[in-house]
Amino acid sequence: MISFGYKIQTDRQIDFDSNNRRIFEFVKAGEPSIDWCMSCGTCASACTAAITTEYSLRRLIILARRGEEEEILNSVHRCRFCGKCINACPRGVNTRNIIYLIQLAVNKIAKHEI
């Protein structure tokens, strides 16, 4: 093989398109304001559950958008629904309903309904 002095690297991209985004679709159908989220993280910084657990709504929404389900399943039930995130959100996203709907979606996945 001719040496050109450089080589083509192996493909390192993550293909999120192959993920199933059913959780995100389900939430968006019930709470369209999830689209307004700009992942600023204000909600996570205001969060009560985040004091004692590793819980971040910002992560949850990003993961839901990507269709990464595993971490969502592990952490979504840590929310206490206190609603501080709604007060904090600069975009007026109805964050608590998003969490409620993600939980509902997780339950539905467990029952093979979606």
């Binding site: 019930g30 039930h77 929310c79 007060n87 109805n94 309903n97 409620y100």
Partner: protein, 614 residues
């Protein structure tokens, strides 16, 4: 025995109705738990039975509570219910008097004029004819009023009426036809055979002039019987199930039954007692300020009853309790909503949330629990800390660096079991500290601590506690403002009736302006934790509406005692919004020279060149 085939629709309908009710009520009774069953057994032989009968008379027949709201609406309900009841009662007495010693099948008093068209031979026949005509007129006036209400409900003090489902319309039509058909049947009979009094007699002679009464009276009796039969058959499946069930509800309530955390037969009785009268619709802020018109209690109970409830209906509620406070039947709708939310969320409890408390229990006299929302408004907790140290109280700030949530938001999301885990953990922490008073700054926490924790210590909202400190002269308050408006938070006022202490406390610092929407009639600020579904815009319009109704613009300051309410009103208010604790601190420090320490950090601001103006 007197008989004619036309009585069959009525008789069959009545037999079906009574059979259905017997089966349904027996099923409800047998599925009661042992405790409730014994309540029923002992209740039947106690004074509460008499009280229950009195309430049935006042509410189910006279509709006293509706009368107190609006006289015309009350008269409409009373004339239909009490009028019809008397029609049956007097009819039965008439049957007894005219046919002593004979067995009267139930259809005889109902169709009396068919079998005894001209009862001149009987004693008191004038009295009975007159009474029956008068009662029929009373019921007919109710029917006419009900018709008018469909067209112009504002005359009855109702801006909105319930949207009916098809089955209800069917039953309603049958009900409306019953009494005009009775009038027709009796009038035709009177035209043909004579008899009848001022109503049926005059109507008969009028109709007899233009119509062949002899041919029409028999079909009219058939139609009357048919409409009765249809109504009875449709009753158990329509909103008119409330007629018999409300009586059962009143009795079971007087026997000491109440809603619990689970669905019981009492819940079923309450759900079936809703007449969808629509009085709750106008009370709902989501309706009059938020423009959401399909989630109000009448619709919610309907959906629960027919098992078509959706999460977005159940979660779209402020749980302010305004509907329950105006409900003429007194249905505990908030509890039913909580039960429904719980049922929709059948997830088993898990401990995926860590319960490690950040601070350890400290022995103290008073525990201060700020609550999640207070942590978003640090000035409130700082104010409380200042007041505590000022009054020299040995207190423990339980959630100073964050703590376990009180559990109410979890309950509102339908996770009762998880809430119970948190409640148990918090309870241990509270009891270990050996304190005698628990003070909280958040009405939501206060409600849960007072109702769900079973603490044997005093639970107080900070408005009550500060009032007590001021009364004992442990803090000295100075007048601050000339005028203030106090907004009652829902949980504090409607649920737990704490509205005199905060008012007295604010009264020591400012002149209170009364408002039409205070105490039990208070409005939700729109920021309620109970509503998962309402969008930001809906919440904001509710807040604006509540602010306008409070007339806070006339005052110098808007005072409230809930961090959520403060946060909500801050967005729309033209005057400063203060928590009661902030006001107290300001009032304590009023006559003192405040020492402002030198600020270490300076905020750098860009210096802009001045623009010369011409």
């Amino acid at each position: 025995m007197k008989f004619d085939p036309f009585v069959l629709p009525f008789t069959l309908g009545l037999i079906f109705l009574l059979g259905y009710l017997a089966v349904k009520y027996t099923a409800w009774f047998t599925s009661l738990d042992r405790n409730d069953k014994s309540k029923v057994m002992t209740g039947f032989f106690s004074l509460s039975l008499i009280r229950a009968v009195k309430e049935v008379f006042l509410e189910s027949l006279l509709h006293r509570r509706i009368f107190l709201r609006n006289r015309l609406l009350g008269f409409m309900h009373m004339s239909l219910a009490f009028g019809w009841f008397l029609l049956i009662l007097v009819g039965n007495v008439e049957g007894r008097v005219y046919r002593p010693g004979e067995i009267n099948p139930p259809y005889i008093p109902i169709f009396f004029r068919f079998f005894y068209a001209n009862p001149e031979a009987f004693p008191f026949h004038r009295v009975f004819s007159f009474a029956m005509d008068l009662l029929l007129l009373l019921v007919l006036s109710g029917v006419i009023l009900a018709l008018v209400k469909r067209i112009y409900s504002r005359a009855y003090g109702m801006k909105r009426t319930t949207k009916l489902m098809t089955g209800d319309r069917f039953a309603l039509a049958a009900l409306w036809f019953i009494f005009p058909l009775r009038l027709l049947a009796e009038s035709f009979t009177s035209a043909y055979y004579g008899g009848g009094d001022f109503l049926t007699g005059s109507a008969g002679s009028l109709l007899g002039n233009v119509l062949p009464a002899g041919e029409l009276y028999y079909p009219a009796w058939w139609a009357y019987s048919l409409s009765l039969g249809i109504f009875f058959a449709a009753l158990p499946f329509s909103r008119y199930m409330h007629i018999p069930t409300e009586v059962v509800l009143i009795f079971s309530r007087h026997f000491g039954m109440a809603e619990t955390n689970k669905r019981t037969s009492f819940t079923e009785i309450e759900i079936n007692s809703c007449s969808r009268c629509g009085i709750c619709l106008d009370a709902c802020q989501l309706s009059f300020a938020g423009g959401i018109r399909n989630v109000q209690s009448a619709y919610q109970l309907k959906s629960i009853r027919y098992k078509s409830i959706q999460p977005n209906e159940s979660l779209n509620c402020l749980m302010c309790g305004r509907c329950a406070s105006v409900c003429p039947v007194g249905i505990d709708i908030s509890s039913i909503r909580m039960i429904t939310r719980n049922e929709m969320n059948g997830r088993p409890p898990d401990a995926s949330f860590s319960l490690q408390p950040v601070s350890k229990t400290r022995k103290s006299d008073v525990i201060y629990f700020a609550g999640c929302m207070t942590h978003q408004l640090p000035s409130i907790k700082k104010a409380m800390q200042t007041i505590f140290s000022r009054a020299g109280i040995n207190y423990w700030f339980m959630d100073e660096h964050g703590g376990i949530c009180c559990g109410r938001p979890m309950m509102l999301a339908g996770h009762r079991e998880q809430a119970n885990i948190m409640i148990e953990k918090n309870r241990q922490l509270i009891l270990e500290s050996g304190a005698s008073i628990l003070v909280t700054s958040c009405p939501i926490c206060y409600k849960v601590f007072a109702k769900d924790y079973n603490l044997n210590i005093r639970v107080m909202h900070h408005s009550q506690y500060l009032f007590e400190l001021a009364e004992k002269k442990q803090i000295i308050l100075n007048p601050l403002y000339e005028s203030a408006v106090y907004h009652d938070p829902c949980e504090l006022s409607r649920d737990l009736r704490v509205y005199n202490e905060p008012r007295a406390l604010v009264g020591k610092m400012a002149g209170l302006i009364p408002s039409a929407y205070e105490k039990e009639n208070t409005l939700c600020c729109g920021n309620s934790l109970a509503n998962f579904f309402a969008s930001n815009d809906v919440r904001l319009s509710i807040t604006r509406d509540a602010y306008e109704k409070l007339n806070a613009g006339d005052a110098q300051v808007l005072v409230t005692s809930c961090p959520m309410c403060r946060k909500a009103f801050e967005k729309v208010s033209g005057v400063p919004v203060k928590d009661i604790a902030e006001l107290v601190v300001k009032s304590i420090h009023k006559n003192e020279q405040q020492h402002v320490p030198l600020q270490k950090k300076k905020i750098h601001t860009e210096s802009r060149p001045l623009v010369m103006q011409e």
